[in-house]
Structure formats: structure tokens, C-alpha cells
């Protein structure tokens, strides 16, 4: 059984159009890191909110890590799923970074030792050490994104959903994010990353799902997705620079610098 599955999911916003065309969205994801990419308005954020139950489908089945989402409250899903909103300001409401990060494990009534461990690890992994007492609103967008990520990680969820974590991140921040995502993947977690940053996808996400106008256009190894010009064009995606470079000079398909160098040297 796949770790996340959506079966013929139909959804529309009140008064809005259908996000996923008939017969609905069907998708299966295994554990490890998966990138979810597609043009603006493709339905990526909607999909992630359906996974945790913040949005409820009109029809169709959604299963996440053995949980039937339709029969589970959002709060109960939060025991398993760490969710970060695309806009950190939709997520942050506490008065200090520490309080914000602690909120999840605290309301989930984790044992004090687990709370402390989870919070400390999340703060460290997200580069927030020393900022525990700062008001999240006094931080910049990039750091608020990190507070949001730390808040989702603090309860040590086995499924992690990150909606555009790469937005507005500088180079060291991107490196940290890459390490974090790859580590979570290697720990056997299910990690879903929504992003427009294809360099990041090539570096950190072995699997890619391409969503375009609400339909899954591709789901499989990232390298194949980047090889398909027509697919990328349709979904408004520019492949990573190394992929284009390798193609331009007639090298074998590659998705990140390491692969490029390995191919180049051969």
C-alpha cells in the first residue's frame, strides 16, 4: 500500500471552479522525498490542504499513512502530519519563536521529554538557535518560513508537507533546507515539497509529481520529468540550469551538479 493515496478526488472552492477536472485527482506517493511542481494555480496548495483535512473533498478517498482523512479531524491528522502553510503568516500566531514551535507537541500532549527534544531539534535544524524569544513578526519572510517549518517538525511527524519552503531563501538557507529535506527522507519519512525551484528539486527530490491545471501530468523519477520538454513547457517549468547545460553540450540527462560532474568526468 502506498503511503499517501488520493483516489478520484474532486474539490471546488465555494463559488469557484473545479480545481481538479473529472474524473478527479488520483495519485499515489511512497515514502521519501517527493516534489510537487506545477504552474501558479495548478492546485498544489489545495492538494496539500486536502491531505491534512483543512479542505474536504466533495468526493473521492484520501489516505495518509494509513489514516482515512475523511474520518479524521485535522487535529488528529496533526499527530502524523507536520504541515507548513505557503504563507507563514497564516500559520504563526504565538508571541515568541519558542512558544510557536512548542505549541504543536504541547497540544498533542506529548511527554515533556519528547516535547523538549522535538523543539530543540527543530529549532536547531531550522537555524533558529538564539532567536527563541523573538516575536515571529519581527523576523523577515525567510526566517518566518523557518519558524513555520520548525513548528511543523517539533512534534516529530512521520509525514512532512512543506508548501513552498524555498521561497525567498538565500544560499545558506537553501543549503540548510536541502540537508533537512534529505535527512527527513533518509529517515524513512514521507516528505512532500511544493516548490517552483527546479534546482532544488534536482538536488533534493528523487521523485517528482507534475500537476498542471489540476491534472497529474507526471509522477515518477525526477530525471525523467526533466527530460520531457513538452511536459515542462505545459506545466510552466524551467528545468534546472545544469540539465539545460548538459543538454546543450550533448551530455547524458542529469538533474543536479553532482550528476553533471560525474557525467562530465567520464
Amino acid at each position: 500500500m502506498p503511503d499517501i493515496s488520493l483516489e478520484k478526488v474532486l474539490f471546488s472552492y465555494p463559488g469557484g471552479v473545479e480545481v481538479y477536472p473529472e474524473p478527479g485527482l488520483t495519485l499515489a506517493l511512497e515514502s521519501g522525498v517527493t516534489a510537487l511542481v506545477g504552474e501558479n494555480g495548478a492546485g498544489k496548495t489545495t492538494l496539500t490542504k486536502l491531505l491534512i483535512g483543512l479542505l474536504r473533498p466533495r468526493s473521492g478517498d484520501i489516505n495518509v499513512a494509513g489514516l482515512d482523512v475523511s474520518k479524521t479531524t485535522v487535529a488528529a491528522m496533526a499527530k502524523t502530519v507536520g504541515y507548513t502553510f505557503q504563507n507563514p503568516d497564516d500559520q504563526l500566531f504565538e508571541r515568541t519563536v519558542k512558544a510557536e514551535v512548542t505549541f504543536g507537541p504541547r497540544v498533542l500532549k506529548r511527554p515533556p521529554a519528547d516535547v523538549e527534544r522535538g523543539v530543540a531539534a527543530a529549532i536547531k535544524a531550522c537555524g533558529l538557535a538564539g532567536k527563541e524569544d523573538v516575536h515571529p513578526h519581527d523576523l523577515g519572510l525567510s526566517e518566518r518560513k523557518w519558524v513555520a517549518i520548525a513548528s511543523a517538525l517539533a512534534s516529530e511527524p512521520s509525514v512532512v508537507v512543506l508548501d513552498e519552503p524555498t521561497l525567498g531563501q538565500d544560499y545558506p538557507s537553501r543549503q540548510r533546507l536541502r540537508e533537512l529535506v534529505m535527512r527527513l527522507g533518509s529517515e524513512g519519512k514521507i516528505v512532500l515539497v511544493v516548490t517552483h525551484d527546479m534546482d532544488f528539486v534536482g538536488e533534493a527530490c528523487p521523485t517528482t509529481v507534475v500537476l498542471s491545471h489540476g491534472a497529474v501530468r507526471y509522477a515518477g523519477p525526477t530525471s525523467n520529468a526533466f527530460g520531457d520538454r513538452a511536459l515542462l513547457k505545459e506545466a510552466g517549468i524551467e528545468p534546472p540550469h545544469v540539465t539545460e547545460l548538459a543538454q546543450a553540450i550533448g551530455l547524458r540527462q542529469c538533474v543536479n551538479e553532482a550528476e553533471f560532474l560525474a557525467t562530465w568526468r567520464r
Binding site: 479531524t73 485535522v74 499527530k79 505549541f103 497540544v107 498533542l108
Partner: protein, 259 residues
């Protein structure tokens, strides 16, 4: 958009098309009348008119949701407290063991509950069918100063804006494990963690709005240009005057002994 900054719901009904002033006068007078008229039957008549208008406006389903969340608890509380404990009680309606429920209390509670229902329904009916911006615009076309117009506009936005913000904060909190759905005790417990962030972010929002206004040159001494005209008619003008005069008339009638 439905959520956003107002409760307004797009539509083409009679109520949607009516002049904002007509709807405003109607809402205020109906609320006043519901509290002035003396007997249950008069209030029922007003409630019936409101119900018909709600159906005409096509907002019945949304209103039922509001009624269940807001009015039902109030009504139940009133009926219980008055029926069991009003000092005027003496006619027994029924008894459960030693606990007696009285007719007088039931009557008093029914009147109070229906008045509150009229108040809430009239207010929501108005909000569902009138764009907040139109109210301000219409008032300013009648000579209201822009500064007062802004005050009116802000006041109209307080409820929808707060609801919107509360929804966002609750989404953030339940996505991290705070139970906000399900039984009443569970929802009551989620209330406290919501209140503080809600009050704080409301304050921030107010401040940001004030800054945004200044940046746009609000308060500069320039002549305003009308955005658009609202369709008005003789019927509407007469309705407005009739409604506006009905309120003092009803008060005078009550003073003269209308029962």
C-alpha cells in the same frame, strides 16, 4: 470572494438591487420595531416578513448556519432560565419531578428569543445582500464626510474581518493538533487559545489599515469623484420614509397604551 472582508454574497435578487439606503433604513427600523411592538404576534409577523425576504434573497442556507451557531444556544438558554426561574411564573406548564416549568416564563423567553432572532436575521440579511463599500458610498453621496465614511466602513468590516482572522488562526492551530471540531467541551477549550492571538492580530490589522490610508492620500483636501450612482425609485423613497416614520409612531403608540 465569499470569505474575504465581507459577508456579502453576489446575487441579483430584489434585495441585492435595492438602494443601500433603503436596506439600511429597513434594517434599522425593523430591529427597532421588533423591540418596540408589544406582543408575540407582532414580533412573529416581523419575523415572518424577514423570513420571506431571506428566501427571496437566496441566503436561507447561510442564514440557517448562522442561526444554529448563534441563535440556538441563546434561545435554549432563555427558554430554560425564564421557564424555570422567572419571578412572574405561576401557571404550571409541565413538571419533571420536583422541577416545574411555567407558561409565563415560556412566553417571556419566546418574546426575547424572537426579538434577538429578528435583530440577528435582519443584520445578516443586510450584510449578505449589501456590499460594505456601497453603504459608505451611498452615505457619502448624501453628504457624509469621508472621515465619517471611513469610520462606517471600518465598523462594517469588523465582524467579517474578525471572523476571517479567527478562521485562519483556528486552521493554524488545528493543523498543529489543537482539537477545534467535535463536541461542545472540545470546542469550548479551543476558544481560549484563539482569543489572545485574535485580539492581538486585530489590533495589528487596524494599525496597518490606518497606515495604508495615509499612504493613499486619505484626508487630503481634494474633491471626491462619484464612483457610480445607485438606482433609486419613488417606491423606495416612500418605503424609506414609511419605515423611518413607523418607529416613532410605534413608540408614541406604546406610550399611549398600545398592548
Amino acid at each position: 470572494m465569499a470569505g474575504g472582508l465581507s459577508l456579502y454574497q453576489e446575487g441579483a435578487s430584489l434585495l441585492h438591487r435595492a438602494h443601500p439606503l433603503t436596506k439600511g433604513v429597513f434594517t434599522l427600523s425593523v430591529i427597532a420595531l421588533a423591540f418596540i411592538v408589544p406582543s408575540l404576534y407582532w414580533i412573529l409577523a416581523i419575523a415572518l416578513i424577514l423570513l420571506i425576504l431571506v428566501i427571496v434573497a437566496g441566503v436561507l442556507r447561510r442564514l440557517i448556519a448562522v442561526a444554529l451557531a448563534l441563535l440556538l444556544p441563546i434561545a435554549v438558554l432563555l427558554l430554560a432560565v425564564q421557564g424555570f426561574a422567572n419571578p412572574a411564573n405561576h401557571t404550571v406548564l409541565f413538571a419533571i419531578g420536583p422541577v416545574v416549568y411555567y407558561t409565563e416564563g415560556l412566553y417571556i423567553a419566546a418574546i426575547a428569543a424572537l426579538r434577538i432572532t429578528c435583530l440577528v436575521v435582519a443584520t445578516f440579511l443586510f450584510s449578505f445582500t449589501t456590499r460594505p463599500a456601497d453603504i459608505t458610498e451611498a452615505l457619502m453621496q448624501r453628504g457624509l464626510s469621508p472621515a465619517m465614511g471611513y469610520v462606517v466602513q471600518s465598523a462594517l468590516q469588523i465582524i467579517p474581518q474578525t471572523l476571517d482572522m479567527a478562521g485562519r488562526i483556528q486552521d493554524a492551530q488545528r493543523s498543529r493538533g489543537l482539537e477545534t471540531e467535535g463536541s461542545l467541551p472540545k470546542r469550548a477549550r479551543a476558544y481560549l487559545p484563539l482569543m489572545l492571538p485574535l485580539v492581538l492580530s486585530s489590533l495589528v490589522a487596524t494599525q496597518e489599515r490606518a497606515m495604508a490610508l495615509e499612504v493613499r492620500g486619505f484626508g487630503l483636501p481634494v474633491k471626491r469623484v462619484r464612483r457610480y450612482e445607485f438606482a433609486d425609485s419613488a417606491v423606495q423613497r416612500v418605503t424609506r420614509w414609511a419605515l423611518a416614520l413607523a418607529v416613532p409612531a410605534a413608540i408614541v403608540a406604546r406610550l399611549l397604551g398600545w398592548k
